[in-house]
Structures are given as C-alpha cells and as structure tokens.
Symmetry: C2
Subunit: 336 residues, 2 copies
Amino acid sequence: MQRHLTTIIDIARQLGISKSTVSRALTDHPNVNAKTRQRVLELAEQLDYQRNQLAISLLTNQTRTIGILVPEFISYFFPRVIISAQQVLTKAGYNVVICQSGESYEMEVSNAHTLLANRVDGLLVSHTKETRNFDHLRTFQRKSIPVVFFNRVCEDMNVPNVTVDDYRGAFVAVEHLIQSGRRRIAHLAGPDSLPNTRNRLNGYRDALLHYGLPIEPELIISYDLTLEKANIYINHLLNLPQPPDALFTINDPTAIEVLKVCRSRGLHVPNELAIVGFSNDPISELVEPGLTTVVQPVDDLGREAARLLLNAMEGSATEMPERVVLPTQLIVRGSS
Amino acid sequence: MQRHLTTIIDIARQLGISKSTVSRALTDHPNVNAKTRQRVLELAEQLDYQRNQLAISLLTNQTRTIGILVPEFISYFFPRVIISAQQVLTKAGYNVVICQSGESYEMEVSNAHTLLANRVDGLLVSHTKETRNFDHLRTFQRKSIPVVFFNRVCEDMNVPNVTVDDYRGAFVAVEHLIQSGRRRIAHLAGPDSLPNTRNRLNGYRDALLHYGLPIEPELIISYDLTLEKANIYINHLLNLPQPPDALFTINDPTAIEVLKVCRSRGLHVPNELAIVGFSNDPISELVEPGLTTVVQPVDDLGREAARLLLNAMEGSATEMPERVVLPTQLIVRGSS
DNA sequence: ATTTTTTTTGGGAATGTTCCCAAAAAAATA
DNA sequence: TATTTTTTTGGGAACATTCCCAAAAAAAAT
C-alpha cells in the first residue's frame, strides 16, 4: 500500500521553486507572482493534487469538522434533524461526521472517543436511552470543545440545548382526548432515563388533573421502545378488567403498533379505542385510520441545534448557555 | 480558542522522561519498564490524554476511516444498508464517515473532495440520480483508494460492486400480476440514469414479452422520484382512455402514493387497480391494503459492500473486481 | 547611477506522533 | 571484577502543511 499522493513539495520540485511559494499560490495568498501562481495551479490540476487536510488540521489545531452523535437513524426523526443541521453547518464551511450508537451506551462512549481523537471542532448530540453517565461528553467540555444537546438532553451539563415542548405537546394531546369524551386514558411511556419521556408523562398527568380525572397507575406503563415489548404491554392494557378507552403513546411507531393490535383483535378505532401518537412520522397519515399525533418541528430542531453550536464555536461562550424550546402542535386525524 | 490538549510531550516533561518512552508506554510496546508504563498510564488518565489521530494518520498515511457516500438517508433503505455496513467495518477497526448529497450531483462532488482531503482509506458509494460524470470517483481509483459501489453502480468503472437482482425482482413481480389476470400493466419507472431503473424496466418488459403481452409505451413512464411528479403521472395514467388494471412502481413510496390517489378517487385496490412496489419499506405492511412488493436484502447489501471494501483494502487488488448480485423476493399482500 | 520602496521568493520552525538507531542502564555470565 | 547480553531509554527524522522572517529581485523614485 505504498500509494504516494501528490504533495506541495512534488509540485515545488517539478517547478524548481520552494514549497512556500507553492503553498501561497494554492491558498490565494496575495504575495505571489501571477505567472507563478498560474504555473502552480496548472501543475496541481495536472497531477490532481489534493491538499492534505490532516496536515493543516494538525497545524491549525482545528479540523472544521463537527460530529453528530445520535442513538439511531432508522426512524424518520433523526435523519431529518441531521439533514437540516447539516445544511446549516455545510453553509458555514464545516464538514459533518455522523455516528450512530444503535441505542447502546457502550457504542456511544466509543464513538465519543473516536470523535475526540479525530479532533472535531464541535459536537451535536442526542444520547442513547441507556446513557446515565455523561463523563464521555463532559470530556469535550473539559477540553473546551463546544457541545450542544438536542432532543435528548442532559440538563446537568451546563451546555446549550434544543428540545421540543414535550410537556405542552402531551398536555394538549390528552386534553383533546378528554374533550372528545374519553375517561380512561392510558399512556405508554418511554424509558424514565429520557427527559422527554418524563416531560410527556408530566403533561399527561397534569392534563388529567386539570380536568379532574384520576391518575391510575395501572394505565401508565413505561417501556424500552422496542416494538416487541410494546406489543406485550398493549395487549396487557386491552386485557385489563376495565380496559382504557384511549391510549396516548410516546411515539408514532408505538401508536402504529397499537393500531395493528386493534386491527387483529377486531377493535374499532376510534370508537372503542382512541389513539394519539407523538412525532408525526410520515407513516401516520398513511395508515387507516390516519393517526392523531403531535408534530415535532424536525427541521427547526436541526437548524437551531446547528445555530447554537456555531454560536458556541465562534462566539463568546462565557454567557449562560442558551436553551431553546420549540413549539409542538396537535394534528387530529381519524384515530381519535 | 487557545485550548491546549494534553500531548505526549506534556506527559514526558512532567515525568522527566522522553516522549519516545511515553509513546511506547501508550502503544503497548514491549520495550518499556513495567513501572514506567504504569506511571505514564496513570498520568495520562489523570490529564485525560487523548491521542491525536491526525498526527498518527499524517505519519502512517492511513486514517482507518472509510467514507460512505449516499444520495439521501430519509428513506428506509439507505440507513439500513449503512448500519449493516458500519457494523462490519467497525468490527474491522475502521471508523465510518457518512456523507449525503441530497440527490445533488454538485453536493456529491463536493463531498467526494472532502473525503479525499480527509484521506479516507476507502469509499462506499451509491451515487445520485443526477450523476453522469464519474470523474470525482475515478480520482479515488487513480490514487489507489479502494472504491466499492452498492445499489446504484457505475458499470464503466472497474471496481467491485453489490446490487440486488433488480431484473429478476421486476420480472417476478410482473409475472405475478399477469398470473393473477392483469392485462394492462403500467410501470412507473425511475430516472434512466440509474442502472437499477433500467434493469427493472427490462424485467418488466421481458415478463410481458414472455407471456405474450404487448408493450405499450404509453404505460411506461420514467420520472425523477419526487412524489409531486409521481402524483401527476399516476393521475395521468388513471385518466387514460384505457387505464391500466395494474401498476408496478419503481419503489414503495411511489406505490404508497398510488394507494393514496386510489383512495381519493374511490378506486378499489386491488379489484380495480393492482399495485406492486419495490423494496419492502416497513410502511408497506402497515397500509391498508398491505402492499405487494419486492424485498431487497438491505442487511446483506451493507454487509457485502463492507466485505468487498475490506477485501480491496487489505487484500490483493489485482484480480478481476468482484461483483455480487443478491437475490430479491416477492411478497404478496392485499394490494394485488 | 544610486537609493528607496515594493514585490516575490526561500528557509526554517512548528504541529503531535511513531519508529529507527544509538546510548545508557541493568542484569547475566565469565 | 570484567565482560557480555539484555532491557530500557533518548534523540532525531519523517509526515504535509502554514506562517513568519529575512533575503533576493524587480520596480520606482531620487
């Protein structure tokens, strides 16, 4: 594997000039003779020279690369956020490296180390559902590499973050169910470790309280977001002596799973069971009946996260870290 | 931004030994006193030292990073392929950098340059629908950086590639429609620039020929994969004086779009129009009726692509480049 | 023609690491 | 104790680039 890529020195040698001059010609530095620049540019083109970003990064101590660390990107949510963040960052002249941890804490730590070793200039992160120890991310902070959380945030770390208004989204969703006459509203919640799970749960609780409905512990189940478990719990809820007349789920895939179970049990949606999801996956408008759900502004989320990171990297990081909460919105479809 | 990260030299100085010794201690080199190693390791931990991968890569001329270049990753397909490729590559000790070009040729070229400047050791690529000139990828070849195509391949370039059996998949899909009594089978095809579009089109044609059915040019429409266009063409087909009784589409999202149009026009599926998609998106089993489709072995695709790349990077690249074609399979659901 | 100014060029340090070679220290042998 | 062998250490080159400073060349001014 003795491939040799053209360097600035090769060009200098062939032209009988110094590497400094070549460097200047290649970097649009003013102090270079027009004709010399021309010759350099031509030879560079001819040898298809490609500047070695590694050497430059080593020297300047910045890579102009930012890392994005997400738990997964199969679902619709993260890819969309990443794309919109990437647009902003690319425009600002940064490269983007994406790592996904497959919801595994171990993988997340390993990815964090890789990004650190590769000297990213900043980090955008949404942690796994398993993550409880944030040392691997604090390391970035300690080395003063800006970190911004989005969607899944660690409130203990004193860094900027962007979330959607999970509490309000959940409140409005449950309020809608109550106002359409439901009285036994179950909630299939996510893992307790995630702040947005907790916020949605609080929204659910407060909506019930606000309308004078009892909070029944047997109607609240938190689970690990795997569809197998979802299935078990959905059936468990429907088999209760007093089954719920509505089900509010932590996300749309779960709600779709509920829809499938109802279909297989011959339960009519929404007459016998109303369903409300969360996130407005594209699937939610394709199923029959359409799924009532809470919209998360995915594009804004990515854009804002990128903006906060750029601020932190380029601006003064002394102020109180900015925390953005984006509004959510209920979309009512056939399932409720 | 004068952050200084701990280096091997800081450790050496604090311990009053040379950087060579520190380096040895840190890299598990045998020629180092056990006690010295211990001291180095402890201090490294304490200062949370992180080796600078840039410096190492510069020195060794390999980054142990491989680039994955895809047109998009919103759809289900690419994320899945990437994840399975990533698993293989991670296990082999490589980092993975993912770039998405948003189906834009310009962005693809720019991404290719970035990856080259960052000195990736290998490239996994599925090009955009706009890509007709492959110079930006040939550059890798010229610099003897292994390239492997997957799914969307450039047959002119003499590199390994992995595809699914698009021809056979399409043939079997259309055969199934014919055998269930359809006679006017339309095909909504992808852009001509993509080989898999062409292969699927050939499969469609040959199936018709094989069963003695005429090929009607008015029933074959290629389009650019945007859903807005899909909508227009679907309506166009259904408005024909002699509308089709079946529609075979280039992919599942398109087929779902057909389903939606049928729903809004009150057309019964499959009685009045049978629909067959391609790729077995998870959505396809959630819609009503379930979508008949052709399964692409996404995980195998990623795994094989990674394997071929590892071969090319580590093995002898002299032989004829390997080309893998993975089998497809028809899944019949309610839409046909 | 000489001096001053401007433009253009070259040399060398610096970035953080590994690896080779020589030197020093320690251990083993005579 | 002296010599040989083994273990451990240090010094410096190399990787590709940028940037500073000085030197050379060219142009302008006297």
